[in-house]
């Protein structure tokens, strides 16, 4: 058995990304994803928001396995640097355990481009809190194998279309909290928060590409719409530094804070 009682619960984000995973050795997860057209952004490669979601996806599952049998995990903090904005693919996502504490798990995650001689694409660290679900942690067959989708691939909408992102002000974008964006716990998937942060940064900078991200997940998004508002802090050789605050407007609370460096469009 793999995962949650309802095999489809919260799987839409993973299916959209098309990430497959296997446990190469204990607690070392290896994921693969194609550089699919629907994931590409203005820079030509996979959008940083999708890369972050891959980091969260593979790192989170690795963290969850490390938390067993005591509990399962939710992401609390994701940091990443993206150093390649165009990709040949396929992408390989390697997640390894850095630390397993009493209350949290830290995983290091790197993405490499197998079609570009294993060039580094992104490097990050995901921190997850260990929680004990009411029904206990999900069961997994080990070593773990997770296939993204079994049906034939179809043409998928681009990330902005899929999320239905809309500009609400000059410095803010938002999405509705659709069922497809929820994780197995029923709250907005952390990877979708990362995609929203990336799109907000791109929008506020007029087409910039996110190269550095820190996201603190402060509270769950349960109601929606979920809005990301950008404040520019300064500019440097490598781009603009932005503060992005994410709020669950329906719940009236801040749910995430991100600091983003955005390389500006030429």
């Amino acid at each position: 058995m793999n995962g949650f009682d309802d095999a489809n619960a919260g799987r839409d984000v993973g299916r959209y990304l098309g990430v497959t995973m296997r446990e190469a050795e204990e607690l070392h997860l290896v994921g693969h994803a194609a550089v699919a057209p629907h994931l590409r952004g203005p820079a030509g490669g996979v959008r940083t928001g999708a890369l972050l979601t891959m980091l969260d996806n593979v790192g989170g599952l690795g963290g969850g396995l490390a938390a067993l049998p005591d509990g399962w995990v939710v992401s609390t903090n994701l940091v990443a640097r993206v150093v390649a904005l165009s990709h040949a693919g396929p992408l390989r996502i390697d997640s390894g355990l850095l630390r397993r504490g009493r209350n949290n798990v830290v995983t290091g995650v790197q993405i490499r481009d197998e079609g570009a001689r294993d060039a580094i694409v992104a490097s990050g660290v995901l921190t997850s809190a260990i929680l004990v679900p009411e029904t206990g942690p999900p069961p997994w067959d080990r070593p773990l194998v997770s296939q993204a989708r079994t049906e034939p691939p179809v043409e998928l909408p681009s990330i902005p279309e899929w999320l239905g992102v809309r500009a609400v002000e000059r410095d803010a974008v938002e999405i509705d909290l659709a069922a497809a964006f929820r994780n197995p716990w029923g709250i907005l998937h952390g990877g979708v928060v990362a995609m929203l942060v990336d799109l907000a940064a791109e929008y506020a900078t007029g087409g910039g590409a996110t190269t550095d991200v820190v996201i603190h997940f402060l509270a769950p998004n349960r109601v929606g719409p979920v809005r990301a508002r950008v404040r520019a802090l300064g500019r440097r050789t490598d781009g603009s530094v932005l503060r992005v605050e994410v709020r669950d407007e329906g719940a009236g609370r801040t749910t995430a804070l991100a600091i983003v460096t955005c390389a500006l469009a030429r």
Partner: protein, 274 residues
Amino acid sequence: MTAVYPPEHHLLRDLRLSFDHDADGRRSRARMPIVGELCTDLGHARAGALATLVDVVGGGLAAGAAAPGWIATADLTLHLVGGARPGSVVEARAEVLRAGRTTVVIEVALADELDRGIGIATMSFAVLPRRDTNPEIDRVRDSPSTMSTQDSRLARPLLDELGVQVRDAERGVIDVAVVDWSRNSMGAMQGGIVAAVADVAAETALRAATTEPLVVTDLQVTYLGFGRVGPVRSAVEVLGTGVGHGSARVELVDAGAENRLMTVVHAAATRDLT
């Protein structure tokens, strides 16, 4: 028994920090006068020095927010957008974003005395059961306050004070001893100084890779374990470089404790902080 921290001759006194705190425990401010000893060869405050300021103000605020529990720093991030020159004073304005049962998250805005933005930082902490050896927070929450004495000051540049030894510039291998001057209240290398070691290691490797006078502007520090024995030893993987910037991944180990992995850091460097 309650520990007295910091001791008489200590980094946190020599930085001449001063503090004040809001009564509700949600906000604190710390000020650090910028002196030449804290600066890079480009003439503005080193990211690692500012990370130390962030660590101290954020740690104090988080400890209060976690009371009666105690805290362990999980991560610290810093992004600089302006250079702080000698003679200026950087104020770190810390605010509690989340104070939960198991974690505390802090945001810190950095500005100079003209209210010019210098950068932004975040920290998160794991909440732990209090031990007898943890400092009493009430004692350090008197407001306004300072840990410095009349004689406190940096006698030498920060990197000399830390005794940084570069072993392999291209690979960013440096050694830094763990000494009483830079220990935290748990007896290990202070978290801001850990960030400073990573700062120097990344700068060293990125300068070797680019031949440009890059200085570190961003640090994403993930703390995994303490550096108690020393020397703390770095290794750097240069992730990428471009004209005027570069980024790197740094690992720090406690070489005296069977090379136990202490910290993973992602760093970015540029040449244009003004």
